[in-house]
Symmetry: C2
Subunit: 330 residues, 2 copies
Amino acid sequence: MTEHTASFDGVLDAASCLAGVAVRTPLIESPALNERLGGRVLLKAETLQVAGAFKFRGAYNRISRLTDEERSRGVVAYSSGNHAQAVAAAARMMGTSAIIVMPADSPKVKVEGVIAFGGEVRFYDRYTESREAIGEEIASTRGSVLVRPFDDPFIIEGQGTTGLEIVEQSQALGANLDQLLCGASGGGLIAGINLSMAARSPSTRVIGVEPQAYNDTQISLAAGERLTHPPVETPSICDALMTDRPGELTFPINRRLEKVVTVTDAEVAEAVRYAFRTLKLVVEPGGAVSLAALLAGKVETGGLTTAVVLSGGNVDPGLFAEIIEGRFAR
Amino acid sequence: MTEHTASFDGVLDAASCLAGVAVRTPLIESPALNERLGGRVLLKAETLQVAGAFKFRGAYNRISRLTDEERSRGVVAYSSGNHAQAVAAAARMMGTSAIIVMPADSPKVKVEGVIAFGGEVRFYDRYTESREAIGEEIASTRGSVLVRPFDDPFIIEGQGTTGLEIVEQSQALGANLDQLLCGASGGGLIAGINLSMAARSPSTRVIGVEPQAYNDTQISLAAGERLTHPPVETPSICDALMTDRPGELTFPINRRLEKVVTVTDAEVAEAVRYAFRTLKLVVEPGGAVSLAALLAGKVETGGLTTAVVLSGGNVDPGLFAEIIEGRFAR
């Protein structure tokens, strides 16, 4: 691995690397949502990114830094699904192969996405096997580079371009961002965004959002050190946000977070339904936690300008149908 | 009524009137769709417009031209749903009341939308009653102004702002539009777009799209006069596009169309599913006909730059669930 440390200069480099390759996703404003919340809300639709989630930014930025020789040996990644698809898509664009280690209970749409992008899938059991160990083993056996989901400076910097665009796009709208909400799992996206906001919009409060039972970033910030959340009996509807504890590289950056709030699965389902019905956007549960926090009143919005990252839209049709028809209950 | 004639100057006036009120909806590009079609496709997401469809542009532009006295008597409109919601929303913004004449079989989501915007609903039977007659009667009894769905120059000019934005946004992307696809029902949107394209991008071919059995614009263009399509036994999945014949004011403008192609309900359902799965956008059947025409190969796209209007996103959750789960069959 490189000695490179994640920085805002690296975010700017990543932006050059991604220009014309990643989608510059729109910052969407909904008069209905503004009215409901009594403030101004700007939605960064990373659902419209290549492979349906912000993850492509980091994956492409990382893989583009490989040497020709590294690229010839292919890459390997472990992921609950969005990073998986992103690595497969980026690998294909750069003419290398990808093996993806995915939980056996990954959403079907994410597994199909990996295969459609030409990736090879290796399933593992989320509860009995270590994805890190399997990934490392494949990497060492084949000599492939492991593309980590968040603990890699190039990944963090790639995701940080989301924040850079939010600042540029909100300035173009004449908006001054009071706060920005973003989901936290391993913390790569929100760490990258923190780098961008610290450099370009330091007065904007960055707030993390986690599923209630997967609040490892919240308890880690309170404790001042990386902690693992207590064991959880049933998985969250937010399959993309079920990491056990903050990343080694991401956590130090995320210490600058204003706070972390949590949302229940029912609140997330309501946000997914609202996005369908009123915003006309397809947002996956894990991608809707920030919107859920606003709609559930976990964060004040009255009179404020709030940016929200809708981080992904890869959701199985069956679950989406359950949610929008009001049949989802947990 | 006014003696005003629809023109591109009127479109520019409408753009000023709508600034800061209507959403400047994004022109979205999907690398996956470009790859599938072998060309460049730019999607105008009017699904993200106020009240979920382009209709707000025309309705607001029309109602804003009323005198204070006219406004005090309220407005009336007839509509299958999207114009209904748009008139209710625009009326509320301008402090007037709205009575909306809607088919008894309108999608529930559209009826609820009208009520949520404070409109009053009067149902009629699509097969035995005349909505025009009911609308005219309410207008004459109450002295209300009838806000027509398409045969009104201010409506046509308001819808035309969609085309103006498409030209401006595609130029900002450095794209030169070879062709533009848009659904045709009464023809207000595509007429307004024709005004804008004739003035600002005359070499762009504008192509209309209709549901197969509701091809009145297609047969009218072929005949050189306004014709009514043959009777249809079952309604189309495209509830928004079931007008019998082209408008009196819209048809002369739409004579400049390159051609009109048609799509089946199955092709439309596939486009709605594709929009969910790959584009992460909620598009109603009537709003997806242009995308359906591309995906079904009804129009050549290889090596071309094509703009597509996704005209609305108001679809009942039950039908949407059927379509995305592959249970829809007709």
